[in-house]
Amino acid sequence: MSELEKKPFDFMGFRKAASVLSIALVIASIALLAVRGLNLGMDFTGGTSVEFEYTEAPSLDNIRGQLDEAGFDNFVVQNFGSDTTILIRLAEAGNDELAVEVADALQKGGAEFELISSEFIGSQVGEQLKEDSGLGLLLALAVVLIYVGMRFQFKFGIASVIPLAHDVIIVLGIFALFQWTFDLTVLAALLAVIGYSLNDTIVVADRIRENFRKMRVGDAWDIINTSIHQTISRTINTSGTTLVVLFALYLFGGEAINNFALALIIGVLVGTYSSIYVSANLLIALGVSREDMALPVKEGAAGQEEDEEPPEWLNRM
């Protein structure tokens, strides 16, 4: 530890390798999205899903056979959470009585089961959702860019939005790679990833800004390196606790939010990495300098301490 104290770990030394890695990951993700595409959930495609709880674990092939016989096509039968729970998805979006028909067809097989949930989504709802969701993501990024641009400086705005896009694209790429179902809850997770990753990026950016004002020696490279060094244990601790909670959610939160937790776990990992390497990297690439950080000259503000002071009311607390 004391070793580290004297000489900050050279985070930026890996900046080239990190750039290559990030760019490669983003390109690979975009390629995956283009080639394999997302396995869109029913929320977006429309369709019917039915969930049954059997008293005894049934054979999936058996159920498939029964459905085939009953004249259904385009269906998926899978276990959901346990081997007595069966989830059946049907692509058909036109018929809102399908759940009951499926239950009737299976009833003829004689097995005992209980219909525990069913869902029907018309195709027009899914279409609209797709548009709204894309719009929501873009809007979130735009608002972040504006806020950070105003609060910090435009270069910081860019340096915080691009990592967010980077994180979102990579999470999407991984979902495309493994063909995990992308539904509404995963979308919510994605937006939460934006929030989380932003949190990380801002904390680092905040320290960089502070150090630019405080440190009289060293160039941008040193200052950024020092800033990352100073915040690294906070970054690791926060990511650590968040991940702990997310793993609890993933393992015990139930089947319905599995993918939600998964998207967040990946997002937090990528987001932590990107707040260090993508964001700081971009700041160097954009050539951030001490001048960018100069405070607007205030009346009589010739003080040595150029910290951004917390608001006055806070000191009274």
Binding site: E53, L129, L184, A188, Q230, T238, L243, V244, L249
Partner: protein, 625 residues
């Protein structure tokens, strides 16, 4: 003195926490399984005797009644288990008869002293308590067409009254216009003036086609919007009435966007009945039978509902519709056949009277209209595809001679069966839908799944929370403990806020809470890391604490505000599960800022403030030396 809060500030924090505690408290009392009894009609009173009868019927069946109470418009019987609840419903329904509706319910068991201050538990979403969720879409094209047809009949009637001769009038719903044709230019000019004076919803255009002089009336964009808005509002009201007739406790009926309606019925498992009543788009039209010499363009042929072979030619003009019905009751005629007694509202009565007083001896038809969605197999690009088709069925249910001018009260006969008469009466009473509606989304959650979701949610919150607490103590020692106290208080405040706002807790909402816990740690970590840094730089403990809190503030503020912005967008853009998540995230960010900055500071001040200290228990080698 450094790091000492003035008394008032500690008091403010304490008051906030006490209020939080009181409002979070009701969530610790589990809901009772209950059944709710309401009158089938608003005039039916639920009184002491009814309640007694219900309780007695339950006791006779050996079902334990925990307590029973009479409320303003309904009665509530609390039971001990969900099995009892399921058994109790048919028992009570049978004992009370059809005049009362019996619904399953979950009754909050908040103690009276908490209720007195307005505290109550969070509402549970459908995914946690079971029930059905419907999304209905209003068919706006049909709404427009119906409105245009009504206007067209009215205009033609007025033209006739003004003795302006017209050749024909067609409704073109696609272009949202009415096309009237005339033999000569003079009549057209007269009609033009009349329409201009009396209707301001049309854009008017004169055209000539061959020897026909056309007057094209197009609806303005604004008018189209008005009609659609009206259709949605009308349907919303109707659906509310119908949901009330279903007797469901705490239903939710809400509009979504410009053409959709959300209906959530907690506790309902029989979706078929719910769908039949909600989606029923039956309506009535009253029309005169066409005269022998009426031109074919003015008449339409319909078959009878009970006998498709038999047909009758009716006038195109509609006298009145089911929308004008004020009340409807099922009854029997002198031969014991089912009939529906109808009372029209004042407009309807007026229309009826005007149409029938000059038509004594002619016959008037009651046309029954039903909209349904059918799926049929069609060949698309050489492949059989299931295609949704919206079907309208119109059939005559009665064709009777007008004996005398009708007023606002009359009866309809010619119905097949008692249930059909009863359902028609119900639909007319609850109000007709201004436009047909279709189910575009449906979700049913069984009660067992709901309980499973609650268990999973509670489990993951507890586990995640426990691990975070452990992590903090191991890493930050004494300060970790302080952080843990403030995290726990944060969770309490979050639950209190959600209860006060009566926000609905859903499974994604629980995920939001878990995530908030994870992120609320961040504020503490930021502050503690800063304090450690200051200590390493050789700053005295008291100064280090002060610097830690004030320096970290800027980072915490920026980070939380940006996350809050994202959460707000999530709330505004999202629907369903996403919204539930956004609500908890928004509230969580606010409470975690309060607890991270104020509450934990206050505790630190109480522990360390105002005295000389040598070292802080904050973990890390240097700080402890």
């Amino acid at each position: 003195m450094l790091n000492k809060y003035p008394l008032w500030k500690n008091l403010v924090i304490l008051v906030a926490l006490v209020i939080g505690f009181i409002y979070a408290l009701p969530n610790l009392f589990p809901d009772d399984y209950a059944i709710q009894i309401t009158g089938a009609r608003s005039s039916t009173e639920v009184n002491e005797r009814v309640l007694e009868r219900a309780v007695q019927s339950l006791e006779a069946e050996g079902i334990t009644v925990k307590s029973s109470s009479l409320q303003e418009r309904d009665a509530l019987i609390r039971l001990t288990s969900s099995d009892d609840q399921l058994k109790a419903r048919p028992t009570v329904q049978q004992a009370l008869g059809n005049e009362y509706l019996v619904a399953l319910n979950m009754a909050a068991s908040t103690p009276d002293w908490l209720k007195a201050v307005g505290a109550g538990p969070m509402k549970l979403g459908l995914d946690l308590r079971g029930g059905v969720h419907f999304l209905l879409e209003v068919d706006m094209d049909t709404a427009l067409q119906q409105r245009l047809e009504a206007m067209s009949s009215q205009i033609k009637r007025e033209l006739r009254e003004e003795r302006v001769r017209y050749r024909g009038g067609d409704v073109d719903a696609g272009d949202r216009q009415i096309v009237l044709s005339f033999r000569d230019e003079g009549s057209r000019t007269e009609a033009f003036d009349m329409v201009r004076d009396q209707y301001n919803e049309f854009l008017m255009d004169e055209q000539t086609e061959g020897d026909e002089f056309l007057l094209v009336l197009s609806l303005s964009e604004e008018e189209v919007r008005n009609i659609q808005e009206y259709a949605l509002e009308q349907n919303l009201t109707t659906i509310r009435n119908r949901v009330n007739e279903l007797g469901v406790a705490e239903p939710l009926v809400q509009r979504q966007g410009t053409d959709r309606i959300i209906v959530e019925l907690p506790g309902v498992q029989d979706t078929a009945q719910a769908k039949r009543v909600l989606g029923a788009t039956a309506n009535l039209e009253f029309r005169m039978e066409a005269r022998q010499d009426a031109p074919a363009s003015e008449t339409e042929q319909y078959s009878f509902r009970d006998n498709p072979q038999r047909t009758a030619r009716l006038e195109r003009d509609v006298i009145a519709t089911g929308n004008n019905v004020a009340n409807a009751q099922q009854a029997f005629d002198e031969n014991g056949q089912p009939q529906v007694n109808i009372t029209m509202d004042s407009v309807g009565g007026d229309l009826m009277n005007r149409a029938t007083r000059n038509a004594i001896g002619r016959r008037m038809a009651v046309l029954f209209i039903e909209y349904r969605t059918e799926t049929e197999s069609q060949m698309v690009d050489g492949e059989p595809t299931m295609v949704e088709k919206r079907v309208v069925e119109k059939g005559i249910i009665s064709l009777a001679t007008v004996q005398s001018a009708l007023g606002s009260s009359f009866r309809i006969t010619g119905l097949d069966s008692i249930p059909e008469a009863a359902e028609l009466a119900l639909l007319l009473r609850a109000g007709a839908l201004a436009a047909p509606m279709y189910f575009v989304q449906e979700r049913t959650i069984g009660p067992s799944l709901g309980q499973k979701n609650i268990d999973a949610g509670v489990m993951s919150v507890a586990l995640g929370f426990g691990l975070v607490l452990l992590y903090m103590v191991v890493y930050y020692r004494g300060f970790g403990l302080i952080a843990n106290v403030s995290l726990t208080l944060n969770l309490m405040l979050l639950i209190a806020c959600m209860s006060i706002l009566s926000a609905t807790l859903t499974l994604p909402g629980i995920a939001g809470i878990v995530l908030t816990v994870g992120m609320a740690v961040d504020a503490n970590v930021l502050i503690f890391e800063r304090i450690r840094e200051e200590l390493k730089a050789g700053v005295a403990p008291q100064l280090a604490i002060n610097a830690g809190y004030s320096r970290a503030f800027v980072s915490i503020f920026d980070a939380n505000i940006t996350t809050l912005l994202v959460a707000v967008i999530l709330f505004a853009m999202g629907s369903g599960p996403v919204k539930g998540f956004a609500v908890t995230l928004c509230i969580g960010i606010l409470t975690s800022m309060f607890s991270g900055l104020m509450v934990s500071r206050s505790i630190v001040n109480l522990v360390y403030g105002g005295r000389k200290i040598e070292k802080l228990s904050i973990g890390g080698k240097l700080a402890n030396v």
